[in-house]
Amino acid sequence: MLEMRGINKSFPGVRALQNVDFSLNKGEIHALMGENGAGKSTLIKVLTGVYSKDGGTINLDGKVVSIHSPQDAQNLGISTVYQEITLCPNLTVAENMFIGRGKGQITNWKKMNTDADKILQKLDIPAKATQQLASCSIAVQQMVAIARAVDMNCKVLILDEPTSSLDELEVEKLFGLMRDLKATGVGIIFVTHFLDQVYEVCDKITVLRDGQLVGEYEIKDLPRVKLVAKMLGKEMDDLSDIKGEKGTYEGKDQDEKIFEAEGLQSNAGIKPFDFYIKKGEVNGFTGLLGSGRSECVRAIFGADRVIGGKVKVHGKEVKINGPLDAMKNGIAYLPEDRKIDGIIGDLSVRDNIILALQVLKGFFKPFSKAQAYAFADEYIKKLNIKTASADTPIKSLSGGNQQKVILARWLLMHPEYLILDEPTRGIDVGTKVDIQKLVLDLASEGMSVTFISSETDEMLRTCSRLVVMRDRKVVGELSGEDLTQAKIMSTIAGGD
C-alpha cells in the first residue's frame, strides 16, 4: 500500500537518511526500529510532511504522491500520534476529535458529541465525548488521539513511541485497539524502544542504523538477540548479566550511611517514609507508575517541598529546603521528565553541562570560557555524546544524547549520592546498557546511586537493594536472594 523508495534527507553536517526504502501493507503492524539518531523520526517526519525530502519517491496505493505539509499527509490518509500528546487538554474529548477538520462539524455540538461517543464506543475507549481531555489518563488521551486519526479515514497510522508514558495495563488496552484497527485494514507504523512490545504486536520489522536501511524482516525470522545486533551493528551479548562483571565498592567506609531519612514527607502526597543508602551502594525504588517512586526521590532532593521528617547526611542532621541545599550536600538528581525538568532547550550543550556545578560554585564566580569548554569537551568524550559541537543547542540533539548531557551535568558535580529517575526511558538499547554499566562503575568507585526504572529487569541488573512502593507508600524492601522478578511482582501486588 505504502512504498517509500530511496529517501534522502540531509541536515547541516548530517546525512540523516541515505537511500532508505520502506514499505507497508494493508492491515499490517510494522515496527520501525533503530537506535537514537538512526533516522526513524526523520523518516516519519518526511512521510508526514514535517520535513521535505531531498530525494526519493513515495507511493501510496500505487500512485506517486507528493507530501509537502502535515495537511497534505492528512488528506492522503496518513495520520500520526506522537509520543507527546498534541491535543488540547482544555477542550473536551469530542472537540479534540473534530477540531481542525472544517465542514462545520464543530458548530453542531449535539451531533458532534453523539458522533464522538459512537466512535469511542466502537473502539472501546473509556471516555465520554463531553469530558474534558485533561481529566482523562494519559493512555486514554493517547487513544483519543488515535480515535481522531482513525475517524479521519486514515490508511496509514503512525504511532511514535506511544507507550513510553503508559503502564502495562494501559499498554495492553492500546495493543487491543491496534489489533482492532489492523483487522479493519489500517496499516500501522509502530516506533518504540520496547523490544517486548515489538514481539507482542508487530508483523514486520524494519531496522535503520545511522540513516541507512539495515533490512526488512518478518518478525518470526528475527529473534530478539539478532534484532539488537542489527540495531547496534555488532554482535553483542546485549542484556547479559553486567552486574557480575563489575566489582563492588570495598572501601573501609562501605558500611557508612551516606544518606538517611526518617519519616520524610513532601507536599506531593506520599506517606512518610524511611530510607538510607550506604557508600558505594546501588539501590532503587520500584512500583507501578504513579506509586510514588519519583515523589520519594524528589523529596530527598528537595524538589518538592519537604513538610516533615529528619534527614541526615554522613550521620549529621541537615535541612534540605530546596535543590540547592541538596546539591551542597553532594546529592545530584536526574529528573524523570527530561524535556520539562532536565534540559534547558535553547542553551548550548556546554552551558547545559556546566550548569549545576556553576550554580554550586556561586553567582559571582562564573567559569571562564576556556574552563567551561574544557569541562564540556571532557564529558562529551567520556560519555560519547554525539553533538556537532559544544555550542550546539541541546534541543537539537537526539533524546539519548540529551540524556547523556544531563547525566554529564550531574557527574561533573562529582556528587557523593546520585539519584537517577528513569534515566533510560525513551533511549535506545545501546545507550541503555552504557548507562547501566556507568552506574555500576560509579558505584564501584564509591558513589552511592539510587536508580529508578519502569523496567524491572533493568533494576535487577543494577540494584542490590530495592524499596518497593504501592499506593504512595513504601511497602517493602528486597535484597539478596529476594531480588527476583517474581518476588518483586508479588510485593508490588501485595499479599503473599
Binding site: 532532593f301 520539562i340 532536565g342 534547558i344 535553547d346 542553551l347 550554580v359 554550586l360 553567582f363 562564573p366
Partner: protein, 358 residues
C-alpha cells in the same frame, strides 16, 4: 568559505540592527550628504559643543539605550515586558526634583547635593521595579498586567510627589547630565551610556546573571532543579530595570531642569520593547543579546531623526515609524531569519554541487 562567512554574518543577531543602521545611513547619504556633517560651535553659555544629526542621534538615543539594557533582562527572565518604565521615569524624576528643590518650587539654590537626589531616585526606581518584580515573580502575574498598575498610576503618583507643581532646578550644574559639561563638546549622555554599558558588560562577565536569566527564561522548572532560584532571578531583573529607569530619569529631567508629568518619557516603554525586538531577541524570553538590543535602541532614534530631517510632520511621525518598524521586526523574526539562513545555505550547496561536477 565566502558563503560560510556570509552565513555566519547573516546568522548573527547583530546583523539585522546593523543592516538597518547601514540602510538608514545610506538613505540619508543619498538624500542629503550633509546629514552626517558634524560642526563644532558654541552654545548659549559659550561652551564648545558638537552639533549635527549623528550627535543628535547619539544624544537622544541615550535614554532608550539605557532602558533597553534593563528591558532585555526582564524580557529574557520573565518572558514578558515592563510597560511601566515611562511612568516610573516620571516618578523617579519627580522624586529627584523634590529632593533638589524641597518644598519651594522656585528655590535660589538646590536643597541637597545632586548625587543625593540621584541616589534617592535610584532607590525609588528600584522600589518600583521591586513592586513590579514581586507581582511577577511571587504572585505569578503576567508581566504586562502586573506593570499595568504602575503604568496607570505612575504619572499621578509623580504629580502627587510635588503637589502637582513644576519645580525648576536653579543649579546649572544639574543640566550637565542631559546637556554638556563645559569644555567637553560631546554630550554627557554619551558618557553615561558608555558607563552603563561598561558596568553591564562587567556584570555579565563577572557574574552568572546572563546564564541564570536565560536558563530561567527557557525552562524555569529545570532551572530550579539545578539550584537556581527562578523567583529571585525574575525579581532581580525588574530591580535592575528600575535602576536603569532612574538613570534615564536623571537624563530626562536634566535636559529641561524641570518635569512635565504627563509628557515626560511618554510611550518610551513601547520604544524600549521595540529595541529589544529589533535586536532579534525573543519577546517570550530565553536567550538574549544585550548589545543587539542597545543597537536596536539607536536604530529607533536614527529613524526618528531621519524622519524629522525629511520634514515629516510630528503628527504623522508615528505612522511612518510604524511602517519601517513592521519591516524591521518581520526581518528580525526568528522564522524569517531561519528562512534567510536556509536560502543562503541553498545558495552555497548549489555552488558546491557545481564545483563537484567540474
Amino acid at each position: 568559505m565566502n558563503r560560510q562567512l556570509l552565513k555566519k554574518i547573516t546568522g548573527n543577531q547583530l546583523f539585522i540592527p546593523l543592516l538597518a543602521l547601514i540602510l538608514l545611513a545610506l538613505i540619508n547619504l543619498i538624500a542629503d550628504p550633509s546629514f552626517f556633517k558634524v560642526t563644532l560651535g558654541t552654545n548659549n553659555a559659550g561652551n564648545p559643543v558638537l552639533s549635527g544629526s549623528p550627535i543628535t542621534i547619539l544624544d537622544y538615543g541615550s535614554e532608550l539605550a539605557i532602558l533597553a539594557i534593563g528591558m532585555t533582562l526582564v524580557t529574557a527572565a520573565s518572558g514578558g515586558q515592563d510597560i511601566s518604565v515611562g511612568a516610573t521615569i516620571a516618578i523617579a524624576g519627580s522624586v529627584m526634583l523634590r529632593v533638589l528643590c524641597g518644598t519651594n518650587t522656585r528655590p535660589d539654590t538646590i536643597q541637597a547635593p545632586i548625587i543625593v537626589a540621584f541616589l534617592v531616585a535610584c532607590l525609588v526606581g528600584m522600589l518600583c521595579g521591586a513592586f513590579n518584580g514581586a507581582l511577577v515573580s511571587i504572585f505569578k502575574i503576567q508581566p504586562m498586567i502586573a506593570t499595568l498598575i504602575m503604568f496607570t498610576a505612575g504619572r499621578s503618583i509623580a504629580a502627587w510627589i510635588n503637589n502637582n507643581e513644576l519645580p525648576i532646578v536653579p543649579d546649572p550644574k544639574f543640566q550637565y547630565f542631559g546637556g554638556f559639561i563645559p569644555g567637553i563638546p560631546i554630550p554627557t549622555t554619551v558618557f553615561i551610556v558608555i558607563l552603563c554599558v561598561i558596568v553591564m558588560s562587567l556584570v555579565l562577565k563577572f557574574t552568572n546573571l546572563g546564564l541564570y536569566t536565560q536558563a530561567v527564561g527557557i525552562n524555569e522548572k529545570s532551572s530550579r532543579l539545578n539550584g537556581i532560584n527562578p523567583t529571585f532571578i525574575k525579581f532581580i531583573t525588574f530591580v535592575i530595570l528600575g535602576l536603569c529607569v532612574a538613570v534615564a530619569a536623571l537624563i530626562k529631567v536634566s535636559r529641561i531642569a524641570t518635569i512635565n508629568y504627563s509628557v515626560i518619557a511618554k510611550d518610551i516603554e513601547m520604544d524600549a520593547i521595540l529595541a529589544v525586538a529589533l535586536g532579534g531577541n525573543s519577546l517570550s524570553g530565553g536567550k538574549f543579546n544585550m548589545w543587539a538590543s542597545i543597537l536596536g535602541a539607536y536604530v529607533i532614534q536614527f529613524l526618528t531623526t531621519t524622519l524629522y530631517k525629511f520634514n515629516v510632520q510630528s503628527d504623522a511621525l508615528a505612522a511612518y515609524k510604524a511602517v519601517v518598524v513592521i519591516i524591521l521586526v518581520v526581518f528580525s523574526a526568528p522564522k524569517v531569519r531561519e528562512y534567510i539562513g536556509q536560502f543562503t545555505k541553498k545558495l552555497s550547496s548549489g555552488k558546491a554541487v557545481k564545483g563537484e561536477a567540474k
